[in-house]
Amino acid sequence: MNADEARATVLAVLATIAPEANLSELELDVEFRDQLDIDSMDFLNFIIGVHERTGIDIPEEDYPALETLAGCINYLVAARPAG
């Protein structure tokens, strides 16, 4: 997956979790929780959504790496789908 695909995937999942958000203004390096109204359950659903779309397994200890848009992109570009 390249960076553009990763970004598109992340934004598509976020749009289903927090449809009220204006994602075009999302800043790369600011935590989602500082820009969007999302709680722990939303964040968990976001991780599940990313996994479902990409097939990439995301263990709990990696969750903090996915708290920003830039972090997500880096993570997804570096990762390989399971199996």
Binding site: P19, E20, D37, S40, L44, E61, Y63
Partner: protein, 596 residues
């Protein structure tokens, strides 16, 4: 659900977990349950607290000033960890000074006894200072959860006659600015930063500026035990949120229950993970650990498994009070992760919010070498009522036994009286009224308050049973209130907000069982003619609801339905929606409208 039926004790499949004395690191405060229950009186518990020097009782005096005067002045009261790794230690001496400053700020702005001071903030130091300073001033503290949207904020502040709001500039802009003119009683907004451009400087202030000018000398307003101290909102099946009123006398129960149910000892470092926006985060996230003079840890950040283990390890937390949702998230991460941290300081783990499943209780033993102790209470009870105590064997899945001073029973309502049921029978959990932290009313709703009582019993709305040894077992709610991640959510409040969307004809909201949160809020929506179900419309309604209600209250799922089942009198049958969702038998449909 049928009441009075005998239910097989299914959860008894889980073996009892013994508590050998050899396993105690400190002798538990409640060493002999039976004998303590026999001798305990609330009057004696009240006498253990010194009270105000000139007479009277004030929660903030018991929690802060009495320690600041003595040898705990330099002990850390609050060990705060910011989201980005910031640290701040506040000693009891400093906490006395800061809360006195805040009380002086209120006085100087004309805020007095009985006036309601609301907060809307994350777990930042200012929140704790505002809470205790408000109590010193004889004003009423009402915390709101920062994940509330504008609608729940407006409702609660209007019902509570908020005079003052303490919040952050960001939350003010996002959730309050647009609704402020709908709250004519709200006189002052105090922000934890510079007020945004355009705010009236006569009514909107920067807290730091006010604090810098305020004195650290303040004589605590001599409140009486029965004076109103705290307002905590909770939800019912119908109608608006209810403001449960608690008085200063409640501190007697906060203190005693901390001693018995959480086993507070002088050397403890305590971490309650609850947010003060919910009552656990006030009774046990502010008051009780401080009345015991402990060091309490506050983490500003939301749940993250690695971060939480790091807090436990680095702060050498000895007693940890958390929630089933968090336990289940940690279980997902696995016991192996826990074993990578040094949690050797930990000696007691408690849980509250919704029943902790037996798997969770037992998982604690595997991950930490300590079982997780579930306990039970409600916004209305002000403090822990039924608990698994450190000295007592655990029956996994049970909420434990009543605290000393608390008499519980399983009852069935029969007109104007109740009948106590036998062990094993399912009925409503009731408590004999009169404990110090019992709510004194729902603000402005005398009738709703009266309905909670039959004779001398407070009826909790929870269905439960008690076994032959006096352990209580939760069965379900007697009403349609949703319990998500430990928080009560009123379906009516959610339905009202979703109904405002122009495409929505009718809406019914239920709690859908969820392996992590216990339940999540799910809304069934039927559309007005001219609108067709689509994914785009579903997301639009979801976003609409989230914007109004905030993430804590808004639905996590929305499904379209052609029409919603109603009773002949027109009420949406949430129970039937839930039965359909779960694929359960739909039961007696004779009161349904039209052909079933």
């Amino acid at each position: 659900m049928t009441q009075g039926e005998t239910v097989p004790a299914a959860a008894l499949n889980w073996p009892t977990m013994p508590k050998p004395r050899a396993g105690w690191r400190l002798p538990p405060n409640l060493e002999d349950y039976e004998s303590t229950c026999r001798t305990f009186t609330w009057a004696a518990a009240r006498d253990e607290l010194p009270g105000l020097p000139g007479g009277g009782l004030n929660i903030a005096h018991e929690a802060v000033d009495r320690h600041a005067k003595g040898d705990r002045a330099n002990r850390v009261a609050i060990r705060w960890r910011g989201r980005r790794g910031e640290r701040r230690d506040i000693t009891y001496g400093q906490l006395r000074d800061e809360t006195s400053r805040f009380a002086n700020v209120l006085t100087s702005l004309g805020v007095g006894r009985g006036d309601a001071v609301f907060t809307l903030a994350g777990r930042i130091p200012e929140l704790y200072i505002a809470a205790l300073g408000t109590l010193k001033n004889g004003s009423v503290f009402c915390p709101m959860f920062s994940a509330f949207g504008p609608e729940p904020v407006l409702q609660r502040m209007s019902i509570g006659h908020a005079k003052v709001l303490v919040t952050t500039p960001v939350l003010y802009q996002r959730k309050v600015a647009a609704i402020r003119d709908q709250m004519p009683e709200l006189r002052l907004v105090i922000l934890t930063g510079e007020p945004p451009a355009g705010c009236d400087p006569a009514t909107t202030f920067n807290l730091a500026t006010l604090m810098a000018e305020a004195s650290t000398d303040f004589a605590i307003v001599p409140t009486n035990g029965e004076d109103l101290a705290l307002l905590h909102f909770t939800s019912g099946t119908t109608g608006k949120p209810k403001g449960a009123m608690h008085v200063h006398e409640a501190v007697v129960a906060h203190h005693a229950t901390g001693r018995f149910a959480l086993d507070f000892h002088d050397s403890d470092i305590f971490w309650c993970t609850a947010d003060p926006g919910w009552i656990t985060g006030t009774s046990y996230g502010i008051i009780s650990p401080l009345t015991h003079g402990l060091t309490m840890v506050v983490d500003e950040a939301d749940f993250d498994a690695v971060r939480w283990y790091r807090v436990l390890e680095e702060e050498r937390v000895t007693i940890w009070y958390t929630a089933p949702t968090a336990v289940r998230m940690l279980m997902k991460a696995g016991a192996e992760m826990a074993k990578g941290f040094d949690l050797s300081a930990l000696r007691f783990v408690g849980s509250v919010g919704e029943p902790l499943n037996p798997e969770g209780v037992v998982w604690g033993q595997e991950a930490f070498g300590l079982p997780i102790h579930d306990n039970w209470w409600q916004t209305e009870t002000g403090g822990i009522m039924i608990a698994n105590f450190p000295s007592m064997e655990i029956r996994p899945g049970s909420m434990g036994r009543p605290l000393p001073g608390i008499r519980a029973a399983i009852v069935r309502r029969e007109g104007d009286s109740v009948v106590e049921l036998m062990a094993g029978e399912e009925g409503e959990l009731a408590l004999l009224k009169g404990w110090p932290s019992m709510f004194r009313g729902y603000l402005g709703e005398e009738e709703r308050y009266r309905k909670c009582f039959v004779g001398d019993w407070y009826l909790t709305g929870d269905l439960a049973r008690v076994d032959e040894d006096g352990y209580y077992w939760f069965v379900g709610r007697a009403d349609d209130v949703i319990k998500s991640a430990g928080h009560l959510i009123g379906p009516f409040e959610v339905e009202s907000a979703v109904m405002e969307h122009p495409a929505v004809a009718e809406v019914g909201v239920i709690g859908k069982p969820d392996p992590v949160a216990g339940e999540i809020v799910k809304a069934f929506v039927s559309l007005k003619s001219g609108f067709e179900p689509s994914e785009a419309l579903r997301l639009e309604i979801l976003g609409f609801a989230r914007q109004r209600l905030g993430t804590a209250v808004a639905p996590k799922e929305i499904a379209f339905a052609d029409s919603l089942p109603r009773t002949r009198s027109g009420k949406i049958m949430r129970r039937l929606l839930k039965a359909r969702e779960l694929g359960l038998p739909e039961g007696d449909l004779s009161t349904l409208e039209g052909p079933a």
